[in-house]
Structures are given as C-alpha cells and as structure tokens.
Subunit: 224 residues, 2 copies
DNA sequence: CGGCCGTCGATTGTTGACAATCCGGTTTTT
DNA sequence: AAAAACCGGATTGTCAACAATCGACGGCCG
C-alpha cells in the first residue's frame, strides 16, 4: 500500500472532494451529505467529517448546524475578501525583500508568462495553474512557511469563485496574460509602493468586473 | 441546558481546551492524549478529535501522524510569522479606510489606553484583553467579516507565544501602554505610509526582544 | 378558515469498540 | 559485539450503530 508515503483516508477524501469542487463536478450549492459520501468513497463517516471540516475552513463548503453541508456559493463579497487577504500576504512578501527579486526569479516569471501566452481561451485549468505558479514565486520569496501555507489555503476558494463567473471567463487567457505581464513589469521596477498598488489592482480588477456583472454597487468597496 | 444557544460538545471542548492552553494550565510541550481528554471531559473521542483539529489549525497544538498530539511550543520564528500576518491584516484594514478613523473610534481607543495605564505589571490577562480590544477597533473598521475571523484565529497562538517569554513579561504593563500610545498617536496622524510602518514596528518590537533573548541572529529577519 | 401542536423523516452529533501504526526495548542472528 | 528481526504497549485511525436535532407535513382545535 503506502509505497512512498502513507496517507490517511481523511487526506484522500479531502483531496478527492477538493478536486471535485474545484473542477465544478460538485457545483456551488450542491448538498453534501456525509452518508452519501460515505457510500461513494467506501469509508465511514468519521474521515468524511474530518475532511469536510478542513474544506469548510478553506471556504469550499458550508455547514449549518444539525441541518447539513453544501458546496459554498462564493459571493462577490467573499471573493473580494479572499483576494484582499491574498494581496496582503503577497505584499508582505514583497516588502520583506524590499522588492528585490533575483534574475533567476524574473527568469522563472518570464517563463510562466511565455507559457501563458500560448494558452487558448477555453483552457481554464491551464490558466489557473500558471496564475498559481507565478504568484507562488512571489510568495516563496518570503521564506515563511506558515504564511505560505495560509496563502495557499486562500487559493482554493478564490479559484472556485472566479471560475464560476461569466465575466471572468470571457477572454480569460489573453486577459490573464496581459495583467500578469503588467504585474511582472512593475515587480521589475522594484519600487515597493508601486508594487503594493499593482498587486491590489491586479486582484481587484477581476473582482470589479464580477461585482458589475452581478449589479452590486461599488460605492462601499475601496481599491476600485 | 441550552437556554439561549445550543452548543455542541465539540464547541465546548474546544473552548475549554483553548482556555487551558492560553492560561498555561496546559504548558507548551505537554502531551495531549485523546483518550485522557475523553475521560476528563466525559465525552467520547469524536468531539475531542474535532476540537483538537481546530486548535491545530489555530496553531495551539501539533499532531504527529500515528504518534500523538501535544501543545505546540511556539518558537520565535512562529511568533514572527504570526505577527507579520496580523500586521498585514491590520494594515489592510487601515489602507481600506485610508487611515481615516472617526472621533468615536479614537475615543474608544483612548478609553482602552486609559484602562491600560492603570494595569499593574503582573496582570498579564488584563494586558492581553486591552491589547486585543485596541487592535480589534482597527480591524472592525474594515467591515470584512472573513478577514476579521482570520485575524482573530491568529491571536490565540501569538498570545501563548508572547506570554511564554520572559523578555515579554518584564515591565509588561508599562511597556504595552507606551507602545500602544505611540501606535494610536500615529493613527491620529492619518498618514497610511507612517501607519503601515508603525504597525510593523509595533508587532516586531516584542519579537525582537524575544529573538535576542533566545540568542537568535536577527540578520535574516527584516523589519527589525 | 387559520394558527398551533405533535409526529415523522432526514441528517448531523455522538458513542464505544476494533484495526493499523509507530516507538522502544529485547531477542535473535550473523 | 553489532545489526537485524521482533514483540509489546500506547495512541491514533477507522468503523458501524445509536441519539439528538431540525424542518416539513398534516391533523386538531379555536
């Protein structure tokens, strides 16, 4: 069995469910019943519960006491907050290094951008993974394991939310290539004030369109 | 029993354990065995496990697979990261409102400072609660529930860590009054750049002394 | 006819027992 | 004597059954 590393059932269930939600096989709003998952995965409810609690923490599912659990419908406000939190951590990482990325790091970013340029619009997964890779380079720079872990857990929720939006889908690949190019250019500048602003803008741009898409007033939201 | 709001066993256990750890009745490094807690609280291991997983997420306990669980010995590096994350969120909150706190908010802060001034050095709990109250005012300003919740979960771990340090204890009350006064003064200035710097400094000051206390080189750590 | 109450079904919350895993010391083997 | 194999105890990981809770439905009474 455990050829390389033993995995608990909880971990397996957790990974499987996360994938199902991120791939939208389990759409937002879907009821998630422990008993059903138990039968589906062939494990008892214990590990299922523990996995679901973790996903709840990541904001992928939602428990209502004594009522049940369902895949969270992530609202525009949720996404707004998630992106603000991710921004904060990335800005922290940049401030810690004083905006001074190495040539190797810029090369790595350029390589990701190069790959992004080739993605066709429908290939959402590829866009998401490139997006992740690029921002990950920024976070790694901090060398802070706990911060990176916290940042990573924020990703899952924001992926679901953004992917769910039509406004996000339209012209996705090209747009993502463009805004990431802009971001990397600002990083090259090395001015932490400008970078801070650029990171906020980078994240707020898609949120703005989603807000507009759903007819929410932008009045009370800053950074737009 | 549940006159106003029903509470699950998990929630009760969770709160009780958290208190025991924060009050250092359960000291860092103490082994925590599910079976023992089960007997002690008179509930089965299920709720205990779920409570411990939550505390693990807050960084209060640590699981080693198939080996056991113990109260986390929070290192200086842990505290460094925790404080950086809290800083990030508070800075976010300030940036969102452009550093513009209302008169009522400044009054509330002044009131907390007034209370802080009277605390004698030994009364750590009182210092901690005032500290919390003051920073909470900053966070509330964001009106972002998820961010506030994330910020709150970071508090528990940092409380344990800072309280554990001798360097932190010495002249605690007076020092805390002083550095919070400074912080509020900068907030009054309303200059977000200065505030950002002040918040970092505010959190990094105690960490610095703890690092020095434990003989760790500060070379690789920024913001000192 | 409308509002209250009790019942019912579905689902979570909880329990005690069983199985798998790891650590340490001890025995066996070379 | 050193290394490998192996047992034993402790603890987590997992399971299937039981109990408590909530929402909805339908009957009863005013």
């Amino acid at each position: 069995m455990g050829q390389l590393s033993y995995r608990t059932l909880r971990e397996n269930v957790e990974a499987a469910l996360r994938m199902k939600i991120l791939s939208r096989e389990l759409a937002p709003g879907t009821r998630v019943v422990e008993q059903n998952l138990s039968k589906e995965f062939g494990v008892s409810r214990g590990p299922i519960r523990e996995a679901l609690r973790q996903l709840e923490h990541e904001g992928l599912v939602e428990y209502v006491r004594n009522a049940g659990c369902s895949v969270k419908k992530i609202t525009a406000e949720d996404l707004y907050e998630l992106y603000l939190m991710r921004s904060s951590y990335e800005i922290l990482s940049v401030e810690l290094c004083g905006g001074a990325f190495s040539q190797e790091e810029f090369d790595a970013m350029a390589q990701v951008l190069e790959e992004m340029k080739t993605i066709r619009d429908g290939d959402v997964n590829h866009v998401v993974s490139c997006d992740y890779a690029l921002h990950r380079i920024i976070m790694e720079k901090s060398h802070l394991p706990r911060v990176i872990k916290a940042w990573e857990e924020l990703n899952f929720g924001s992926i679901v939310a953004s992917i769910s939006s039509d406004a996000y889908q339209a012209g996705l690949a090209k747009r993502q290539f463009k805004i990431h190019s802009v971001l990397v250019d600002v990083l090259r500048g090395g001015d932490t004030t400008a970078i801070r602003r650029a990171i906020y803008d980078h994240y707020m741009f898609p949120v703005k369109s989603i807000f507009q898409d759903s007819g929410v007033s932008l009045e009370k939201y800053k950074f737009f």
